[in-house]
Structure formats: C-alpha cells, structure tokens
Subunit: 157 residues, 2 copies
C-alpha cells in the first residue's frame, strides 16, 4: 500500500522540476519520508498537493498563501476529496476577480481602439473615479507585483 515515489518520479508525473519540489519542501508545502540512505520518498497523496500548488499558482496565489491554505488540511488523515474541494473553492472568487479585471481591460482596450483616444483620457482604462488625486511621491497603488492589480491610475491627460 505504501507505493512511494522517488523525487524523479514525482517530478515526471507532476511536471515540476526536482529542484522546485525540494524548494516546496523547504517552504513546507509538501513533505517526504526518507529512506535509510536519506533519499526522499513521496506518498501518492503528495501528487495532489503538488497539483493543487500548480493550480493555485495559475490562479495567481503566492506560495506563501498556498502554504497557509495547505496548512488548513487535516494532519491526522489523508485529505478527502471534500477537503480538496474546499481549498479549491476558496480560490474561486479570486479567479473570478482576475477574469473580471482582464475582461474589463479587454473591453476598455476595444473601446479605446474604436474611438481612437487610446490609452486613457475619458477612457475608464485608468482612473475609474479619480482616486488618489493628490498623493505625494508615494502615490503607489499601482500593480502590487506579480498579480494583476486592481489599480486605478491618476488622471492621465
């Protein structure tokens, strides 16, 4: 019943590089048993964890947040389908928001291309309602970083 996987096997089946798997382990996202010779051996259940990690990344979640989510799984037993469903569902609104923003961007872009004003002005592209009218040299509220931002810019013309 053990049926453990080596790091190479887990890598092959998950599509994630061995170096990345070791990295995930350091961050506490996955775990492995060790053989007498100190080599990692993964339970099949780790496959789901890795899959969940990759999916979460596609949703735009950081490894740190993914770790938090994974920490909420029961430690005592192997997570049930329901456990995984709960976690995955927790990203749902995030995904929706991302899709919404991207779709809005597309529509705005189409509008701009159509009217020719291109890149803002009366476009809603930037500045939905003139937030940050008078910030100082720290009017930072643009893209936070890797994620797509809910970032209104100032009036641009």
């Amino acid at each position: 019943m053990p049926d453990l996987l080596t790091i190479g096997e887990l890598s092959a089946r998950s599509g994630v590089a061995p170096s990345a798997l070791r990295y995930y382990e350091r961050l506490g996202l996955i775990r492995a048993d060790r053989t007498g010779g100190n080599q990692r051996r993964y339970a099949r259940a780790e496959l789901r964890r890795v899959a969940f990690i990759r999916i979460s990344q596609q949703v735009g979640v950081s490894l740190d947040e993914i770790r938090e989510a994974l920490d909420s799984l029961p430690e005592a037993r192997t997570p049930s389908p329901q456990d995984w469903a709960r976690l995955s569902a927790s990203w749902r609104s995030r995904l929706d928001e991302r899709i919404r923003l991207l779709t809005k961007l597309r529509d705005d872009l189409d509008g701009c291309i159509g009217c020719g004003c291109l890149s803002l002005q009366r476009c809603t592209l930037n500045n939905p309602e003139d937030t940050l009218a008078g910030e100082g040299p720290g009017a930072r509220l643009v893209l936070p970083r890797p994620t797509d931002a809910p970032t209104p810019a100032g009036s641009l013309s």
Copy 2:
C-alpha cells in the same frame, strides 16, 4: 506648447513612482529632455507611453517586450491615435488567450469540485495535449511566470 512635466508631476498623473519612471528610462521605454540643471522634463506624450506600459503589464507582457513594441512607434512624429490603437490591438490575442485559460481553469475547478475527484486525474485540469504539447524552451502553461515545467506534465495519478 511645450508644457513639460517634472518627474514628480508625471509620477502623480500616471500613478507610477519616480524610481520606476527612471527605471523605465534606463530600459529605453520612455524618454525625457533635460533642463540646464540636468532635471528631467517630460513631454505630455510620455503620459501615453507610461499608460501603455501599465496596461501592457496588466496584459502580462514583460517590459522587454513592451520596449520592442514601443520601438515600433514612429520616431519622427508624435504617435497618432492610430499608432496607439495598433500597438494596443497587438496585445489583444494575448489577452484573449489569458482570459480563455483562466476561464477554462475556473470551469475545470468547478467540475472537479462538483465531482469530488479534485485535482486532476481524469480532469482536464492538468491537461496535456491541449495547451503546451511538447514545447521546447517555453512550454509555458498559463501565466507568463518564471519557468514552468521542464518535464512534460504526465499523468498525475
């Protein structure tokens, strides 16, 4: 007619930090004239360039590619609305693809949550064939993030 902007003004109007504007200049994404005292003075047209940069980033384009796109603008004259429309339109398919993948991910996630299998197996979530069928250097799955899978994603269970 000149009506030049200081870096602080451009920053305030674009919502981009002065340090980022200097960084963009170093990369050749924007340009500035200089006063006798060596301070930057931006033509209003630079506002559109900055806006284009931020929009492009939201689409998921790297600064390097944005630079390439901007390089295609006419140098002789101030870019026309049509010039900007052309550039923006060039990201359209990218945006569409991103939206499509994210939407597919959402649907797959819903399906998995519904059936309880969660995280792939017969799910299309970790789909091989569909997207990235055996690319070389760049088998990027979804987000144009850092390197993805060196090994082709295999069956996950």
